[in-house]
């Protein structure tokens, strides 16, 4: 009974507080009336009765308050009052409030945006069943002790042995990641090249995913004799097949071969890459010989661990199997003897970890600077309200109460800034997702509950930090001095000034750290882009194409004739200076390699093997790309098909494997044939940022290669050549599609997108911090000048030169900046070690960057201090002395 009555009372007090207050007034009025009546009955006059009653009644306001103090939900009412009061005080200084909110919004917005990315990409588990048990497996390439090839692709034969002999995995699936398929045109649609993946039939079951439409592969689909089957991606289905569910069981043509569509994958499924659009069974496509190879590394293997088995145990189990294979074929130096593994999530996003965390730390710095700035602003306001606060404290306002007020103000600012920042973050995330569609798991980036909780946490942190730091500057002992302060006192707010200067020094220090980091990343990126890749990169257009195997059998005359005809036509186009064809241009990636031995050299000891990169190229390719022919010549175009037994080697090949001898005329035995070395060409890098590797070039006229990159050099606008070239191609073969039409500059830019993005973003943060610090510096110095107006006025009146005044004030303002600079440089020395792995050919302690940053900061600081200093020097002494 009591419980319900109490609850009812509490509800009433919560929702009908005003009514209860009015009722209380009525109750007290009634009591007063009866008292007056009693007094009248006792014989007093009307006036006397009233006065006597009131006197005995006491202070009505106090009475009311004491009665109300017993009500429940008092704390809520008090908080409501404080919030209203906070709004009012902030409303009286809208400029300050707007500035503070903007600053906090920028700081929180940047943090929340980056946290969204970090949380979605690095921390959220993969959208597969029980993703913690999925492992990506690799072979450790030889030599065993070098880290370079520790996570190498796996050979088909090794996978079969792993699958047969392992005890630790419930399922192992294999896939080839980077295939391309040409989807034939149908129903008026042009053919297009799509990224595809070939996989074993159990890939989806290993991952624990089901197609959204249709069915999964079965073991029957994954054999050489089966009919072609394919799974489509959701986006491809929507875009190309209008999202028609009748696509299931229809036939499409990939590389001119028929494939039955058996299903469509869910929209969120992006494996192995965000660009994969098709999945086909691997055993159906690849010849048995290729799949049985133990030394031909080309596949990725995903495994699902059995319950209770750790990844280390699984990898160790597979290593034992690998070792057995290695020992059984000691004459073959390319069979690995160790397996390695990584959690699947790590495989997909491991590269992004360090850059993302560095960015997150940078936004943390920006937020800290923003908080320091707001604290600075709050201190300034506190200084302005010094007398008011002193009076309130003297009248009995508890210290805690005043502190609570400060915190409430700072909380209101943070909350408003946080809300605005969340909106900014939303926009930033959308922009980021649009810009970096290439990033792993970019589809998973969403603002969700965790992000919202993080935002709330940041708001509270900001409020506490700014509020507490700001209240540090007020002390009880200053009450008397604050009240006694005469208008002329120049000692006004010394503690405030000191606090503001130290806050400023901290801000500048953090800014310097960010600037140094950004400077290093920018320098590293510039080094990366300007690194000589070994060929011409200006005015060169590239496009990729693949000849479907069904129509252009390799090896055979089909491909060789096609490329001859194509290059003839392209070279005949107006404006085309040179054209060539190669398997992959420099910067396009590793592609393939093969083992070899020099015929004239003594045989290698057992277990030792040499390998170098392979490229098929047409004879005029080197000239077209500006790769210098250092010795000998390019291929003889009249030697075709099986007569094409010439090989051209790169300079590093010659230096590494034929040192001190003339390579021309020597023979190389590779890919089961003997080739004669006819030329040595300059080195090229297969990827930006990598050392040039030994490369061997084969003639395209051999008819072994049916795909690659067409390169076109033009003195005029090379991009305008794209359409004429594509027309020439379709004139030769209507069904052929080209993809990745990019100039060399664009291609290289794409491959360095990560570095450029990181450097630009960090530079943006650094510039933002610099701006905040400059504004802070300006504010502090203006404040100091305002405080010392009368002092400066006296100085000028007594004969100080204006330049002297300018100099003194400027120096006064620059001192915290200089102190901050020193702090920042010292801090940078420690911090840059963390980004060492992100730098290319740049020392972490690069003197140019450090000096540059110091100079930039001094420049900006001087500029920021100049205006208040100049204003101080222009003070009219009479005005100054008359103020206040």
């Amino acid at each position: 009974m009591r419980g319900t009555a109490k609850l009812a009372m509490r509800m009433q007090m919560l929702f009908q507080r005003k009514k209860a207050a009015v009722r209380l007034d009525d109750e007290l009025a009634f009591h007063l009336e009866r008292q007056i009546a009693e007094n009248l009955a006792a014989g007093m006059s009307a006036e006397e009765a009233r006065f006597a009653a009131l006197r005995s009644f006491g202070n009505p306001a106090l009475l009311r308050e004491e009665a109300q103090a017993t009500w429940s939900w008092n704390w809520l009412e008090q908080m409501g009052r404080e919030v209203r009061y906070g709004f009012r005080t902030l409303g009286r200084a809208p400029g300050f409030a707007a500035l503070a909110i903007l600053v906090i919004a920028l700081g929180i917005g940047a943090n929340v945006a980056l946290f969204t990315v970090v949380h979605s990409v690095l921390l959220k588990p993969l959208p597969f069943k029980d993703p913690g048990r999925l492992v990506m497996l690799y072979e450790h390439g030889l030599p065993d002790d070098s880290e370079k090839f520790a996570y190498n692709v796996v050979a088909g034969g090794v996978y079969s042995e792993w699958k047969k002999q392992n005890h630790t995995f419930s399922d192992l699936a294999l896939l080839q990641e980077d295939s391309e398929s040409s989807l034939s045109g149908s129903g008026g649609q042009l053919p297009e090249n799509l990224k595809s993946a070939e996989c074993t039939w159990n890939l989806l079951t290993t991952l624990g995913v089901r197609p959204a439409l249709g069915r999964d592969f079965t073991a029957a689909d994954d054999s050489r004799s089966a009919n072609g089957t394919v799974l489509l991606s959701w986006s491809l289905w929507k875009r190309r097949f209008s999202g028609d569910p009748a696509i299931v069981n229809r036939t499409i043509y990939l590389d001119t071969k028929p494939y039955t569509v058996i299903g469509v994958m869910p929209s969120w499924f992006q494996f192995p890459r965000s660009t994969t659009q098709l999945w086909t069974p691997v055993y159906q496509d690849k010849p048995e010989k290729v799949m049985a190879m133990l030394d031909g590394h080309m596949f990725r293997v995903v495994g699902r661990l059995k319950p209770g088995v750790t990844a280390a145990q699984g990898v160790a189990d597979l290593s034992v199997i690998s070792r057995r294979l290695h020992e059984a074929h000691l004459d073959n130096p390319f069979i690995s003897r160790r397996a390695t593994g990584k959690p699947l999530l790590e495989h997909m996003v491991g590269d992004l970890k360090r850059p993302l965390y560095v960015m997150l730390a940078a936004t943390g710095c920006v937020l800290l600077i923003a908080c320091l700035n707001v604290a600075n602003l709050l201190v300034a306001r506190g200084a302005a309200r010094r007398k008011e606060l002193a009076i309130r404290a003297a009248m009995g306002g508890g210290r805690l109460r005043l502190l609570r007020e400060r915190l409430m103000e700072s909380f209101l600012l943070s909350a408003a800034g946080g809300a605005a920042g969340l909106l900014l973050a939303y926009g930033a995330v959308q922009w980021l997702v649009h810009l970096r569609k290439d990033m792993s798991r970019v589809d998973a980036i969403h603002i969700d509950g965790a992000v919202a909780a993080f935002t709330v946490g940041l708001i509270l942190l900001c409020a506490l930090f700014a509020g507490l730091v700001a209240s540090l500057s007020t002390k009880d002992t200053q009450l008397l001095t604050a009240l006694q302060d005469s208008a002329r006192g120049s000692s006004a707010g010394h503690a405030h000034t000191r606090m503001r200067k130290s806050l400023l020094a901290a801000e500048v220090g953090l800014t310097v750290v960010l600037l140094v980091a950004a400077g290093l990343l920018l320098k590293s990126y510039e080094r990366l882009r300007s690194a000589d890749i070994g060929c011409t990169t200006q005015n060169v257009l590239t496009m990729r194409m693949g000849l479907p195997g069904a129509r252009y059998k390799t090896p055979g005359p089909g491909p060789a004739n096609f490329f001859d005809a194509l290059l003839e036509r392209v070279r005949a186009l107006p404006g085309v200076e040179a054209a060539g064809f190669v398997e992959a241009v420099p910067g396009q990636g590793y592609w393939e390699d093969s083992s070899f031995n020099i015929v004239e050299h003594p045989p290698l000891p057992q277990g030792k093997g040499l390998f170098a990169l392979n490229r098929w190229a047409d004879p005029q390719y080197f000239a077209a790309m500006g790769i210098p022919i250092l010795r000998g010549r390019s291929f003889d175009p009249s030697l075709r098909l099986d007569k094409a037994n010439e090989i051209v080697i790169s300079d590093s090949f010659a230096k590494q494997y034929l040192p001190g001898e003339d390579p021309l005329g020597k023979h190389v035995h590779t890919i089961s044939k003997d080739f004669t070395i006819v030329g040595v060409v300059g080195n090229t890098r297969y990827a930006i940022g990598e050392q040039p590797m030994a490369m061997k070039y084969f003639s395209l006229a051999s008819g072994e290669q049916n795909g690659g990159t067409l390169v076109i050099r033009s003195s005029r606008d090379v991009e305008a050549q794209a359409m004429p070239v594509q027309r020439a191609i379709s004139a030769l073969d209507r069904d052929l599609a080209v993809s990745d039409v990019l100039t060399m500059d664009q291609l290289l830019g794409k491959s360095t997108l990560d570095e450029s993005f990181n450097a630009t973003l960090l530079a943006g943060f650094a510039v933002l911090s610099l701006l905040l610090a400059a504004v802070g510096l300006f504010g502090v110095l203006s404040y100091i000048v305002a405080q010392r107006t009368s002092e400066i006025g006296i100085r000028i009146a007594l004969g100080a030169q204006r330049e002297q005044v300018l100099g003194t004030v400027l120096l006064d303002g620059l001192r915290p900046a200089l102190f901050g600079l020193a702090l920042g440089l010292a801090g940078s020395v420690a911090v840059v070690r963390l980004i060492r792995t992100m730098l290319y050919q740049t020392q972490p302690l690069d003197p140019t960057v450090f000096v540059g940053v110091a100079a930039a900061l001094l420049l900006v600081a001087t500029a920021a201090c100049l205006i208040p200093a100049w204003r101080a020097s222009r003070l009219d002494p009479m005005q100054a002395l008359r103020t206040e």
Binding site: R23, R34, L62, Q68
Partner: protein, 109 residues
């Protein structure tokens, strides 16, 4: 003969609850009744009466409703709840124990 404001908060609660036992009353009547029964010794001030009444109401030991008073004006009448009766008993027992103990100490020569 203590000053009226010497009443400890706890004892005021006890007095109010006891006074409300027979019938519902408004604040003025409660004060008058206590004064009357105690032989003009205990004069409850408004400053302590109304906070006490409101606290008792928040705790659920008394309940209140507005009704017409003797003079015809609306007044807030407090009445004891069942829980309040129980509280009254326990407070009375406490008071008896306390006063007996004080008695013992004081009469100890």
């Amino acid at each position: 003969m203590g000053k009226p404001n010497d009443l400890v908060q706890g004892t005021l609660d006890l007095l109010i609850l006891k006074t409300l036992l027979p019938q519902a009353m408004h604040g003025w009547a409660i004060a008058k009744r206590i004064q009357q029964i105690s032989g003009e010794v205990l004069q409850v001030q408004q400053g302590s009466l109304y906070p006490a009444l409101h606290r008792l109401e928040q705790q659920g030991w008394v309940t209140a409703e507005w009704a017409a008073s003797e003079t015809g004006r609306q007044a807030k009448f407090y009445s004891l709840t069942a829980a309040g009766c129980g509280q009254l008993e326990s407070e009375t027992a406490n008071w008896n124990r306390l006063s007996a103990a004080i008695d013992l100490v004081v009469t100890q020569a």
